[in-house]
Each structure stands twice: as C-alpha cells, then as structure tokens.
Subunit: 307 residues, 2 copies
C-alpha cells in the first residue's frame, strides 16, 4: 500500500480517489471534480463559484521569472477558471509560502503582478496567508465569483453530435504566453449569455489532456480534425495538442447553433480566432487518439518544468 | 533592495507591506489584515466570511506525523478562524501540493482527517487543487462561512478598560494538542450571540504574539496578570505566553459585562475554563512586556519546526 506513490497514480485518478467519499451539503450544486464548485447563496438569480489554484516555483515558473509576471499568472489562472464556468470573479485570497532567503523585492514584485491582475479583472484581494516554506515560492489563489444560475457552464453537458470549438491559438505557451495570458472572461460571459454552452472548460494542461476530461465528464466520445487546430507560430499540430497552459476556452454547442455562433462571434470578437475543431460522438464511436498534455505527478511527463 | 530577505522583515510587517496598496471593492466589509475577510453577499442579515490558511511539512507537522491528524489540523485551523469572527463555516477547498515520491496512503490519510473534520464542523469540501511540489507536503485550506452582521467579531474593536479573557488552557500544544484541537466554534457562536464581543481572535502564534496584534488593531495598550494565565500541565507562564498553536479564543468585553459573562459561561460551558487575564489600557499606558510567540520568517525564532 505504502509503495504506491503519487508519481504512479496520476493527477486525475488521485483527485477522484481523494474526493469520492466526501459528503456534500444540500447547498452544493457542483462539488469536487468540476473546474469550479458552485453553491447556493440565498439568491434565486445567482450561484456562488469557488475555486483554488496554485503555482509553484520550478513547476509553473522559474526562480528568475519576472516576479510581476508570476503574480499576474497566479491570479489570471484562477480568473480563467471562473470565466470557464460562465461567471464573474469577485474576491481572491492569496496564500504565499516562501523560504526565508527569498528577497522582499521578489515577493513585492509578485504582489505588484497580483494587484495589476486584480484591478484588470475587477477582483478584490481581501486577504491571505503567508508562511515559511522549506524552499522556493508557492502561491495558491482562492477565488470566488458569481454566475447567473442559467448560465453556469460545466464540463459535463456535452452530447453526441455537439460541435467542439476552441478560442485563440494553441501551443508554444512556454515561450511566454503562460506568464502574460489574458483570461477569456469577456468571451465566456458573452458565450454563456447568448448561447446554450453545453460543456466548457479552460485549456490548462493541453487539448490532449483536457478534451478527454470534458468527454469523460460528458460521457461521450469525440473526433478532432488536426488540420483545423488553430496554432501559434512555429507550433506543429502535436504542439497544439500536447503543450499546456493555453488558457483558451474549449466548448461544445448544439450543432444547430454552431454556424450562427461563429458568425456572431466574428462580429463581436473580430480579433480573437474561434475554431471549429471537431465534434462529440456516441461513446461507442471512440475518440481521435491525442497525445497526452501535461499531467501532474505522472511518470509520462518529463521532469522539465513547463515554464 | 534585493538584499532584504523575508527573514529580516518578519511576517506582520511583510503582510502590511504587501497588502497596503491593494484596492477593495465597495462590497468588502473587512479586507486584508483581519483574521477573516468579510464581504456583502446580497443579504441584510448575513455577511460572507473568507479565509485561507496553510500548513507545511517541517513547519506545522513532521514527515512522520499521522496523516489523519495532519488533515484534521489543516481544516480545524481554518474553522478556528471562522469561529473567531463569530461565524459558521460552510465550504472548504483543499490545495494539496506534494512531491511525487509521497505515498498515496499518506495523501489518502490526510484526506481522511480532512473529511472527519469537515463532517464534525458541518463543512462541505467542494473541491480543490493538487500539484507537484519539489519536496514534502503543503496543504492550503480556503474556507468560507457566514456570520450574522451584528455578530461579526474582529480584532479592532477593543477599548481601554475592556476586560481580556482567554478560553481553555495555554502552552504545550506541541506535545500533541496542535494536531487534535477542537476549534472553539460553539463557544464563539455563544459569545457573539449573547454579548457584545468588542475584539476577538484565535491564538495561533501564542499570546505573546497575538495579544499585541489585537492591541495594535484596536489602538490600545494592555496589562496582563501572569498569575491569571490558565496553563496546561507542565507549562510555565512563559510557556503559556510564548508557545504557539493554542487555538483558544482571546477576546475583550466591556468591563460591565465581564462578571455576568463569566457566570453565564460557567453554566453553559462547565468543562471549558474561561480566564480573565487582564485588561486593555489607554495606548499611552503601555503594555505588559510579553516574550514573543512564534513568528513566521523571523530570525527571532529558532529553526525548529513547531510540531
């Protein structure tokens, strides 16, 4: 028993195992296993969204990364999760653990980036916690937000025949985008207000890891047209599938809505690509083989940090 | 500038420096610098409380600590903060970063303890995040709760002449209590419902560190009678002042309320000591010198973990 390590189990199976037996109160609409939790908040109109997300030196950024970009990234990732649920972010708490030899200037720089992102996305940083870490810097963001009940987007509502879209371009985030990306908050709010978004998530571990998660949650198969993948400069389709940290929206809509959505999108967001990359299938029809994206803990990944 | 490290600045000054320039939305009732943040939630009756708290291997527990006790401690600390604000905890999110060589059994054991505490205190664990850490185990808990508007307790309402009380007994937590303590949720709810609690906090870093924080927030001085300190077995008054992790309530009430409170307390909580340990003073009247409790980052502390 003790010989099973985290490296041998992989992140998704770990989370399922850990959260399977947790009991939930009657006010919990979405619990563990979703991008955001959603809970009742005494309102007919709104649900409250709750989410935490952490980044770690050596994994998500390097010791010499510009501290302001580290702070921006930490908060922007959490905002991206709220966006993907169709919500608007409200408050954040910052947990910052650092070794005592870290420079004050670095930690202040991280806060500069956090404050910049908070101002940009209308988030109040209302508190947090600092602690001493044995080494490096660790930042966990807890964020809350709200979503109109009927606009709540999850991974699990996709149905066979739905068309799969992705925003922006994929791949190569490691060259810098992962530190400066702008979460698709406005786009997700527009999508959920104008269309029935059957399933949505943000791409954090790469399409090859994240699309199967959406398909698993929805109980469907999928087919992807690699030639339709929108790619950043100097990226191959394989890069677009396996590189993590795109922070683009991956979503599925009824096939009847697909064409209208694409036309309206182009008017509303003329500078943000929207690509129809495939469709969801009956589970028995299988899945386009995709190389895996970045999976935490997994032995399948190299030991290279993603930043 | 770069030569200033976290070790040379200390935790309180660091937090003040980092959070001073953060701007807050109009819905924020209590922001950074308080035990919990409090925000409007669209209700006349309730405010929402938000808090994060983290524990780290080597600082708050040891590699061979019983994992279930680690999990209990992680959640109980956060519940204690909600309690100290006069609130009731509702939902928690768990951020768990661990090195890939950690055993699955250990992480499952931590979740067993988390689930036990969640069930005990009526908290739904609605999600979280797992990530790969370079070494050890790091657990951050984000918790929310609610408090009746008129019962919200903070550190900052103490006035000269108020009587200072502490629940339970102090000192020696390192011998085991820090892993098994039972947050004073029922006691704090009773106190805030029956009396005007002018200032309150939970003792996490020791009376010697925490009482000055309450006094700073309230803009007052204080005097403490060391002979009145309730001490755990084999603890000196110095231990009661300097040892951290008591997780008892420290609070101040009007002197007119003190006697009645003590009588009613003894009827309601006959097995929980309540000790009148001193009073708040005009700031010009100074403070009883107290050796410092445990301060993160500070060079004043030895490098020994507190567990």
């Amino acid at each position: 028993m003790d010989s099973i390590t985290l490296a041998s189990i992989g992140e998704d199976a770990l989370v399922r195992k850990l959260t399977a037996s947790l009991s939930q109160g009657a006010d919990v609409v979405l619990g563990p296993g979703h991008d955001c939790a959603a809970v009742e908040c005494g309102s007919r109109k709104w649900l409250r969204l709750l989410k935490t997300d952490c980044i770690i030196e050596g994994i998500h950024f390097l010791p010499d990364t510009d501290p302001a970009r580290i702070g921006w990234k930490a908060l922007a990732r959490a905002v991206s999760d709220i966006a993907a649920a169709g919500g608007e972010p409200l408050h954040a708490l910052v947990t910052l653990a650092a070794s005592p030899d870290q420079s004050l200037a670095k930690i202040e720089g991280i806060y500069t980036g956090l404050a910049r992102a908070a101002a940009e996305f209308g988030v109040s940083i209302v508190g947090g916690d600092t602690a001493r870490a044995p080494a490096g810097v660790f930042i966990s963001i807890a964020i809350d937000g709200r979503v109109r009940r009927e606009r709540l987007a999850t991974r699990s509502g996709g149905r066979p025949g739905d068309v799969v879209f992705v925003t922006g371009k994929l791949g190569g985030s490691i060259r810098g985008k992962h530190l400066d990306f702008y979460p698709r908050l406005a786009e997700a709010a527009w999508l959920t207000s104008k269309f029935q978004i059957r399933a949505m998530m943000d791409l954090s571990d790469g399409l090859g890891a994240d699309l199967p998660r959406l398909a698993d949650a929805s109980g469907v198969g999928f087919e992807i047209n690699p030639a339709a993948l929108p790619l950043n400069d100097a990226c191959s389709p394989a890069d677009g599938i396996t590189n993590g940290e795109d922070y683009e929206l991956l979503f599925a809509v009824r096939s009847d809505d697909a064409e209208k959505l694409q036309v309206k999108w182009t008017k509303r967001f003329p500078y943000v690509p929207l690509s129809r990359i495939g469709r969801l299938l009956e589970p028995s029809m299988g899945r386009t083989p995709l190389a895996l994206g970045f999976l935490h803990f997994s032995d399948c990944n190299s030991a290279e940090p993603t930043s």
